[in-house]
């Protein structure tokens, strides 16, 4: 059995107004960071997974994201998996 670290970043879907992101964008622009746009706020979750291989670890974590970690109605998530040697 191998050990993996799963890193999940969750953001609101593109078509959903991210009011926190907008507020931060306005603040950045007031600091003259006018070249920084499309600010999106999200969540970051780390987990350890025991699995036989990367595919199984990926499938387990995706399933957990769909069921609990993210809300598919409003959120997208990205998973990065690293094997722990």
């Amino acid at each position: 059995m191998k050990q993996f670290k799963g890193k999940v970043s969750i953001t609101l879907r593109e078509n959903i107004l991210d009011v926190q992101g907008k507020t931060i964008e306005h603040a950045l622009h007031s600091l003259n960071y006018n070249d920084l746009t499309h600010v999106r706020i999200g969540k970051y979750v780390e987990v350890l997974i025991s699995a036989e291989n990367t595919e199984i670890a990926q499938a387990r974590l995706s399933e957990a994201c769909n069921q609990l970690i993210a809300n598919p109605i409003i959120e997208d998530y990205k998973i990065i998996l690293e094997e722990i040697k």
Partner: protein, 231 residues
């Protein structure tokens, strides 16, 4: 007529709900602990109360949805049981998939605690049959994440099938953006399931069930529910 009021760690409107339906309105009620694995046979309607179940960790209602009693609540719902989710209870109902859509952060990013006016858009539901049609009622809201969101086709279905039960308005019943406290789509404050047995609403009717508190507009919600059982 007996209500079952679910108590999650972090629920804080459970006692208000109990006081309102028993002390004020004279029905019976009992608390149901979130770790229980059965719902007593004599419960006619379940109240999922307001509060901050599990500290609102991850998303409001996301953890409560997986508590042992919620499995029973979902079975109760699938058997046609009556459920009212208020505030955090509404959030738990959407997380459970018992009601469509979800609740986003308030558009102004603030926790809003104030009285609002609601129009009773549908008074032929088990939760609103004691209201006159198009009644305007005053009910408090107290939430940070009450901004109802669903995709276009879901909202269209809710509109077409009269599933929007309460809408934020002014005291004359005008539902435009200036009377929308949280950015909710189409000023939605409360919706009902397609079978008409599950109501979710962000405003707190249980907080206005006693004239001593300045308003008793919330009583008709609970009298309406009881009206389905007491003939």
């Amino acid at each position: 007529m007996k209500f079952g009021i679910v108590v999650f760690p972090g629920s804080n409107c459970d006692h208000d709900a109990y006081y309102s339906v028993t002390g004020n309105l004279g029905y019976s009620a009992e608390y149901l602990w979130h770790k229980d694995t059965t719902i007593p046979k004599d419960i006619d309607c379940i109240i999922l109360p307001g509060g901050f179940s599990y500290g609102d960790y991850l998303r409001c209602g996301a953890i409560a949805r997986f508590s042992p009693l919620m499995n029973e609540v979902i079975k109760f719902a699938n058997n046609g049981g009556y459920i009212i989710g208020i505030c955090n209870g509404f959030q738990i109902l959407t997380e459970s998939g018992l009601l469509p859509g979800t609740l986003l952060r308030n558009e102004n990013l603030k926790f809003i605690c104030k009285d609002v006016f609601l129009k009773v858009e549908n008074n032929s539901t088990p939760f609103t049959n004691k209201f006159k049609s198009d009644s305007i009622i005053r009910i408090p809201i107290a939430h940070g994440e009450g901004n109802y969101y669903a995709d276009d086709s879901t909202v269209e279905k809710l509109e077409n099938e009269n599933q929007i039960v309460f809408r934020y308005t002014n005291e004359k019943g005008v539902a435009d953006k200036s009377f929308n406290p949280n950015g909710s789509i189409n000023n939605i404050a409360g919706i009902i399931s397609s079978n008409g047995r599950i109501l979710g609403m962000m405003p707190h009717p249980e907080r206005y069930c006693d004239d001593l508190l300045g308003c008793s507009d919330g009583t008709s919600v609970f009298h309406s529910i009881a009206n389905n059982f007491i003939k």
